[in-house]
Structures are given as C-alpha cells and as structure tokens.
Symmetry: D2
Subunit: 344 residues, 4 copies
C-alpha cells in the first residue's frame, strides 16, 4: 500500500547509503573523532555562512532537544516554547527529565509571535514574585512548526531581537529544516537562521538520513566539555562515522536541498489532489506535511488504500490527518493517492 505516513518511512536516500557502503571498511576513530565528521561539520558551517560555527552531530530529534536545552540552561531556568511545540507535547517529558520546565506560550499556527514573547518576558520580570518562578532561559521554536508552517524573516528577526534584549538564546528545532528552506513561500535562508539564532539543528532523519541531527552553535557558545555531557546523556555513538558519513553525503552536491525540493514539489502536487477531491486543509502548510480534514467515514474508507497518519480529532465526526512527502515519494505514489481519493 502506498504510504504518506511520515517522512521517515523509507531508509536512507540512495546516495547516503552508497557513501556508507563505500567508506565501510575504512578504519576510523570512534566517538565522532574521524575525518568524515570533521568534513561534514565544515561543510555544514560553510552552508550556514558561518565557517567558525561549532557543529555537533547527534542521533535523534528528541535527544538533540534534550541535550541542547539542558546543557545551555542555567539551573534556575526553563525553556519557553509554543504550547504545541514538540518539546511541549510529543517528547514524553524529555525536557522535564533533565530537570527543566517547558514554559508553554500561546501559539498561532504553531508559532510564537514576537509580541507574545515580548509580553511574556516583560510580565515575568515585572512580577514581584518571579524569583519563585522558573526563569525563561531560552526560547525554543520549530521551523517548520509541528503544523508545517513557517516563520517569516520578519518574525524570526523579531524573536531574535527580543532574545538578545533579554540575553537568552534563541533555539530553532530544524527536524525538517530542509523543507522550510526549500518551500516556495519562505523568505528565510540557512544563513539567515544561522545569523538570527544562537543555536539550531539541521534534521537528517526526516530529510534522507537513517538517523542524525546536526547541531550548529552559531556564537562560539557550545557548552564546555560538550562530549562529556553528550556521553552523560547516553547520546554518544561509538561509531560516530555513521553520522559523519551521512551528513558529509547530505552536504555534498546539494543533496540535502535536492531532497528537500523534491519533497516540496510532491507536497504541492498533493495539495492540488486534495483540492481536486474537494477536501479541506486543516491548515495551509507550505512545507512537506499536509494536514487534511476527513469525515470519519472517509477516513475509514481511505485508510484501506493509502497509509497516512492520525493527527487529532477535530470534532465528533471529523479527524485531522497528515500526509507527508519525502525523498522517496514518487509520481506513482501521488497518482495512487489521486485514484484512491477520486474512486471513493
């Protein structure tokens, strides 16, 4: 059955896999001390327009969020995030497990608007009891958001300026960053992100790798003895090459962006098909994930022919479901989707 369940339904992009095979017999240092990790980091720093940036490779998204947030916060601080942020809802409490609170802010289309952040920080410091409260020590945003939406350069600049005013880092979760950068509706580039954020990560798992996320510290602000903190959290790979080789491949010959652009094209096609089938979008996502409203009957029917994923119940009779495109989505898959929808 054709599947749009997620952007991690297949293995690695063939070029990534090929590089793993080609380098397999080379003897390399462990724990990320190898030439591929070095090369990958340098390529990423260059792509970000910050040759001096400190880049670190980790295994998965929740792990990356927990490591970055907990090593950058002071003891008395928590991280501010949209109420719908991945760290707020879908990481099983991984941030709290590190002893820090997620300070949940109201969201708009999955985003924290600059004025909301400004008001929150202002009110915090005005509150005479704030020493009894968790200090906001970082702002977490995801881009694309959990709803596939994007920050504009103006919004990102606004958040960045507020963070600087309050001397707290702005952290961008880029689990699907490629799709944000490849979207036709964005005015934000990778160097913009590197300039505006204090730390962010470039997701590999959902953009063609078997696993792997590349964290970029943009201000020479990598926490000291980071490797030890990574190890302490059980996040250090013995065969760090697995990450180095993959990211080296992804940042060679524009592969990361080719993968992303392909998925965006497929998602745009998908959107046309939904329109043709008379379906409503739950939210108008300009990235690789599409959120569609189905009646529960249609959902039951469609799920016999196409795989997609449950998002949330809308009301008694309607459900929001998600269709994701990735490097492995093909024209044939889309045609199968079209037929399934129109056949009903």
């Amino acid at each position: 059955m054709v599947s749009f369940e997620s952007d991690y339904i297949c293995g690695a992009h063939p070029e990534v896999l090929r590089r793993l095979a080609e380098t397999n017999l080379e003897c390399l240092g462990g724990y990320g001390q190898d030439a591929y990790c070095e090369r990958a980091k340098a390529k990423i720093a260059r792509a970000a327009g910050l040759p001096d940036a400190e880049v670190e490779l980790l295994v998965g998204g929740t792990q990356t969020n927990a490591v970055v947030i907990s090593t950058m916060l002071a003891d008395y601080e928590g991280v501010a995030a949209a109420r719908t942020g991945h760290v707020s809802t879908h990481e099983a409490g991984a941030i709290e497990y590190t002893g820090h609170k997620v300070l949940e802010l109201p969201q708009t289309d999955g985003k924290i608007l600059p004025e909301i952040l400004q008001r929150f920080l202002e009110n915090f410091y005005k509150d005479e009891n704030h020493e009894h409260m968790v200090f906001p020590g970082m702002v977490y945003i995801s881009h694309p958001t959990e709803y596939g939406t994007l920050y504009s350069k103006e919004e990102l600049t606004g958040l960045s300026e507020i963070c600087r005013k309050y001397s707290i880092p702005l952290y961008l979760d880029g689990a699907r960053l490629g799709y944000a950068l490849a979207s036709r509706e964005t005015d934000v580039t990778l160097p913009d992100i590197a300039r505006l954020c204090d730390v962010f990560y470039i997701g590999g798992t959902k953009v063609g790798a078997l696993c792997g996320e590349a964290v970029v510290f943009t201000k020479r602000n990598r926490p000291p003895h980071f490797l030890t903190s990574v190890k302490k959290r059980g996040a250090l790979l013995a065969k760090g090459r697995l990450l180095g080789v993959q990211f080296d491949a992804l940042f060679t010959d524009d592969l990361y962006f080719r993968i992303s652009r392909h998925a965006i094209r497929m998602a745009e096609r998908m959107k046309e098909i939904f329109a043709e089938a008379g379906l409503s979008l739950y939210i108008d996502s300009p990235t690789n994930q599409q959120f569609v409203i189905l009646t529960n009957e249609r959902l039951a029917e469609l799920s016999k022919r196409v795989a997609f994923s449950f998002w949330e119940a809308l009301d008694e009779n309607h459900t929001v479901v998600r269709f994701a495109a990735s490097w492995s989505t093909t024209e044939e898959d889309l045609e199968a989707l079209r037929e399934a929808l129109l056949a009903e």
Copy 2:
C-alpha cells in the same frame, strides 16, 4: 506598620510555641522516630476519620509537593494541574526538577472542573500518539486554590470518580486547608477530603506552625521506604520532634480549627471594609485571602500605611493585591486597615 502581607508574617501560634518549650529538654529519637510524631500522626488520622491512614510530616509546601508527586508517579507519568496551580507556576520548577512534567489544564477560578479533567483524560487515551506523550499519572488540586476559592463536595466527588475510573491518584494540596474547612461557604469536611482523595496534606506553616506539613496517605498507599526517599530529597529533619510537637499541639483541643475560624472571621470583616471603601474584589474568596483591585495610585498611597502583597497586574492602571488574615490578625489591625482606606 500593620501587615496583611501573608499568613506567615508571624511566628507560631502561642500554644504551639509553648509546647515546643515544654518538651524542649526531653530526650527523643531523631528523624521523626519520637512519641510526639507518633501522637500527632494518630490525632491527624483520627481527625480525618481514617484511623488507619499513613501520615508523614514534612517541612514545607513546595518540598511536600515535590516529594509526594515524585514518589507516587511512575517514570512515564506526569501530574495534571490547573494552569494557575502552585506546582505549575510558583515552585520554581520543583516538580520538573524531579524529572516529571506538570500537565497544565485550563482553570476556572483556580479550579479544575470535572468536565475539563474528563475531556483531557479521554482525549489523551484517544490520541494515537499518546505513547509519545507524558501519561497523566496524578491529579493535583489545591484547596483552597491559589485564588482562595473552594471546591464544592460535588466537584470534589466528580474529580475523585474520574480519577478512580482512570486509576490515578487525586492529590490535594492543603497548604491552607484549615481555612477551607472553616469557611462558611464550604460543604466539604476533612473526612470528605480523606475519603475522596488518595493523598493530601494539611498545611501547618500557614496555619499557626513555624513550619511543617502533614501528608495523609488515605489508601495504605504510602510509597515504600518513604523515609529513604524523603532523605534522598534532603527533606528529612534530624530533630523531627520540631514537626511532631507542633502538629500534636495543632491537633489538640481543636487548635488547628480555632486558628482557622479566627482567620476566616477576620477575612470576612476585611471584605466588609473593602466594600465600605468602595473597592472591587478580583475574585470572591470565601477563605482567609482576599484579592482586591486597586488603581496604581491608590496602591502607592495605601502601601505607605498598610502592608499587603502584589498579586498580578490587571491592566495598565490597575493591580490585583492580596490581603491575608491569620491567627495573628487582630481587630486593631482591621481598624487600622479601615482607617487607612477611608483616610485616602
């Protein structure tokens, strides 16, 4: 200057202090292994109508919440609380420090309404991704709430039934429990609470003790080796007698309730004075804390003559402030308040 800043501005109620002095030279076992602790626990269990209840004495409120919540939750669970709950906002992240998330629910007058809890739990288990989320493993309520309001017996029964249906404990934070029980507007008794909750605590610090909170496990559900877990959290007093003697005194000759009733009478008088002075209440509290709206000018003026505490900014020109009554509030204090208000 006369002060209504809080219900912990003075030391201990004189009868409590007298008992500390009278027992001071007795040689007693350490770490709560003494006759006064035993006696206090037995009296509390009897007052709760549950002679078999397990009672434990701890030092402060935030500590008690952190100890109880973290020892009763399973690894994959968090605690559901009103967004305005003390554990959500004013404990500096003490719950998260134990590695568990506070799942914040919408509130009404500081309370979690049964229907809100029901919907939240239903939705959680319906969500196909709930294994990636923090499981609700306990419900935390405060009574009185942070706004001085009270659950009705019907509401408490509703919450209790939902908790039982989902097999999660209902935990009541009774930092100011005496004032709830002594309120003229309550239909909830201490035995009701003991029957409907799985665990709760009876606050001493804010009801006449120097320090001390008595936790009541109502279902033989005290976590195993509780003393060790208390010690591990730095919460075990060497001279446990300090807690035992105080609670023994508070539960002798109805002292805990006499203190509470006195404060309620003072608070009611206070409310009359506010009405006389033409002030609006922010919320109509039937307990010992009164929340009043002042213009910022009046606030500045009044604070020269009377001490009270900042609660929250209402808008540009108005502030909510809190006046608290306690065992030490006198008729003279009230008269001074009245004069200060009418003099303006």
Copy 3:
C-alpha cells in the same frame, strides 16, 4: 534513661528558644527576607573574618550538601569525597539525585589526605579517556569527619592549594563545625576555614538549634539566583525567620562556641570514663563524638541502662558504638554512664 545517642536528642539551646519566643509576634518578611536573617548573616560573616562573605541559611545537612554541590558543579562534573564521607554513604543518594556522581576517594581516619587528592587529579587528567569520565568539579570534606577526627591546618592548606591549582572549589561540611573549632587538638580557626575553603557550612542542628545550617560562600561565588535554586529543591522556608532568629542567637555572646566547648569538655570526661572502664576506642576522636568498641554481650547489657548508637559491626563479636555529647549533656549524665559501665 540517660542518652548519648546523638547531639540532636534535645530541642534547642534555651537561649535559642528564648529568642524564638521573644520575636514570635513581630511581623517579618517571608522567605528569609527579614532583619534577623540579615543580622545572623552579618554576624557569621564577621565571625569568619570575611565581612563580605555571602551567607545563606538552609534547613538541614543533607539538604545543604545537595543544594551547594548541585548548584556549584557544572553539568559534566562530580564531587570528590572520602569513601566514608556523609555524602558518599549516609544521604540516601541525595547528591546522585541531583544528577551528579560522588567520586569516592580512599580515606584515612575519615579524611582525604592531600597526596591522595593530588594523585587522583593528576591521574584523571593524564587518562586519555577522561572525557568519557566524570570530571572532578569540587572536593568535599567534612570537619570534623564522620569519625570525629580533624584536619590539621597543614592538611587543609594542602587540600586548598591543590584545589586552587586545579581551579575547583573546596567545600567543607561543618555539620558539627563548632566541635572542631572548640577541640583542644585543633590548630584550625574559623577564619582559617573561611580563607582556605571556597564554600563551607556552619551546622546549627547539631550545635544547639532546632534546625538550620549556615552556608558561607567565601569568594563572592554564590551561584546566581540562589534563592530560586533553593526553592526549586524544595528547600526554601516560608518562615525564614526560624533560621534567622536561631543563628542570630547562636552568634550572639559567643553562644555557638560556648555550646561547643561544653560538649567538648563532656566528651573528654567521657573518654576518661571509657578508659577507666577498660574500653578501647575505635578511633581517637578529639571532638564531641566518641567511638568505642564493645563486645556484643557488653553492648546488650549496657544498652539496658544507657542510650547510645550503633556505628558499625567490627567483627563477629565486637561492635563499634557512638556516644555523643552536646549542649544538653550534664555531669549527671556522665556519672550515670560511669556507674552503668562500672556496675557491669
């Protein structure tokens, strides 16, 4: 029955209790924001010969260790301590609960010798794999140690110099500091400790208070937003006055040292009685705790007439027991001990 079970068998020294009573009705700020806390802190700083020192008041010893250690260590660090240190053995894992390892070092009479520390640190940094290990980020010593023994000024200076060489703080647990300072066999003064240590605490609970420990940060090195970190650990008292008034009393008219000297005199008398009774000391303690070896039969017999405490099994037939003197130990108590021992 006369008791030497511990130095916390009675309540507070009468002068301490008197001050609590005298100040009871004063209206004071909460959470340690009161004049008595301020005054106590100033007196302690002066007694330590460091008027600029930052002093903080906490409730108990394990709590103090956990708060100080966890707020001063970096993420990748642990605390080095003697294998017999209180934090290593008798705090139920309170340090590990904060996420940090106790690095256990070999001990001599309860002490870490400077050469042992030097070798440990040297070897750590020589180890090519040390980035995979817990960094030593603090040295914890207790003075008196858990065996009642004392560091000489030379030893303390040695440890201090090594710590400075490696840029890690030296932390001294002074749960019974008074008895160390009052010992006839010490050449270490309170200002010496303040000069040689980066942080230490002056124990109140075991030297005449109901509860309370005063932490002294000697190098303007108090962690930022310390109150928030204290609150986060459930260690902030609402009626902070309880600590302020007590320490103010203890540091008025030399009370802390009078109490300590009395206990030392009683302990010396005790030692003479043990010699008279032909008992062997397990270790020759110059402070208020005496460790005696008893045959198991004699132990059973003696415990019918005198209360003392189990320390550890020495072999099949012998047990080490502890006798402690305190402010409340009297000549009559000692006479009763003598009679009990000689009567056997």
Copy 4:
C-alpha cells in the same frame, strides 16, 4: 596504518550492510513498529532459549545501561557494580544523571565475586542506619568484563542465587557478549545467561553492527510503557528499522557468532605474537581484547606503525595498552603487527 584500536573501528559487517541496502526502499512503520524489529526480537528470544522473552532494541551501550537501570530501580535504590565496571567509571556519570547511585564493590579481574556480593548485601541489611542509605536494587555485571575476563557458570550461578535471595534483578552488560560466548574458555551459553539473569543486553555496536544493542527481559519484567520511558530519555529512533534490520541480519545464519568466533581466533593469534615478542600481558583475557604492558619507549615506537589504545598507566615507565580484534581484523593485520613488534 593497521589498527587494533577498538572493535568499532570499521563500519558494519558486510552482511549487515547488505541487508540495510536490500530493505532500504521498503515502507515501514516508525519507532520500532516494523516487521524487521519483530523478526529480530523473535530470533534473539529463540537464541536465548526463551521464546517468551521481551526484547527491546536500543542504540548504544551507555544509553542502554542508563535506560535499563533507571527504569528498573525503585526511587530509593541504586545499582551495585564492580568499581571497575563501565557504569562506574566510563559513562560520564550517566547512571547518576538518572538520579541513582552506583554502589561500587571491590572487584577481582573486573568481576564481582559472589562472596563479595553476599557480604555487601548482608552488611547492608544489618546496618541499623540502612534506611539512610541507598538500597541495593540491582546488580550490574559486564561479561566479558572491562578487562576481557569472563564469569564462570559457577560464579554466575552464585550471583544469580544471591540476587534471587534478596529479590533484586541481576543485569548483565553484554556490550561484547558475542566474544564471551565464542571464547574457548567459557562454560557459559546464551541460554545460561538468559536463565540466570533477569535482564541483559546483546551488544551489536562492537560485534558487527553500525549501532544497536538488544535488551532481553527474561522474566516478563519489562518496565510498563517502556517505549515512553525510552522516548523520555531521548533514546527512541524514528527509523527503528535501522536496529531491526541489523539485528535480524546478525541473528540470521549464525552471523553474530561467526563474527565473534573470527575475532576470538584473531585475538588468540595476537596473544601468540605478543608472547613471541616477549611482551607481558596485564591480564590474561580469553576474549577479543588483549591488554599488554609496554615500556613507554616501546609504546612510543610501536605507535608509529600500529594503532592501539591507551588503557592505563601502570607505573612511571610502563603503560597498559589494549589491542582489540573484531570482524574486520585480518591475517594481514596480524602479520603487520608481528612485523612491527619484531622489527623494533
């Protein structure tokens, strides 16, 4: 340069890599919900002689130790381990990060002897203060140990019986389990381990996989909602297939054991070469790691021609170094080693 630095210097065994390539385009469920994970788990359970065993796949060794230990311990418990155990020394405090102490026991050749364990547990429960101490809640052993040594079936049975007597689980860290099972000097089989231990893991990373460790819960004792706890620790892979496909390959056609036997043969050859070169072994290891004593001059010389790894300084002039064999070690590698050693 020929390398014996570790058993993770190369990528995956070619058969493992081939299976990753062959399955790469299949659409599979995420988070370990796929047919390869299921198949791998079933094969592992069968190989362990416990078709009912619960098997879980994780990414790395330190992660696995932290997840297993922290989800199986009660709040008041710690894990007992040899002082040289991996969890005690080389995991950067990953266990303590979960809030639990590692209780370090004396070791013999890297092993905990049954009599040592018995005495430790006995003494713990005899100690009258044990409620103030960390309860031993699990026993951790590694097999092979960090020194390449092995438990005999008698020793393992002894440990197992003691654990059962005290009702605590026995946990075996099998990061290199294949090499233990393939050693000519072992009398312990995989089913023996499954029978005698309550939980253990079969290491993939160091036995031919790119990454991956398979945890086996042998007594239907997998902690509830294990996936959620794994996610909470940042240890859940989105493309869980990466682990499933690899373990499926390793447990097909005896591959895991073929890899292990090959490495053992290479290690035995290595040992002969060391003897021929007149080198002393630091410890006589019957598994794939060999620990050799070199003078510091010889070490400097040899390291120009062969890569190996530093183990520990023996004395001023000698160093212990480690040579590891793996699936990728060849006869040519050994010949190069021989030449390098004899050439000196």
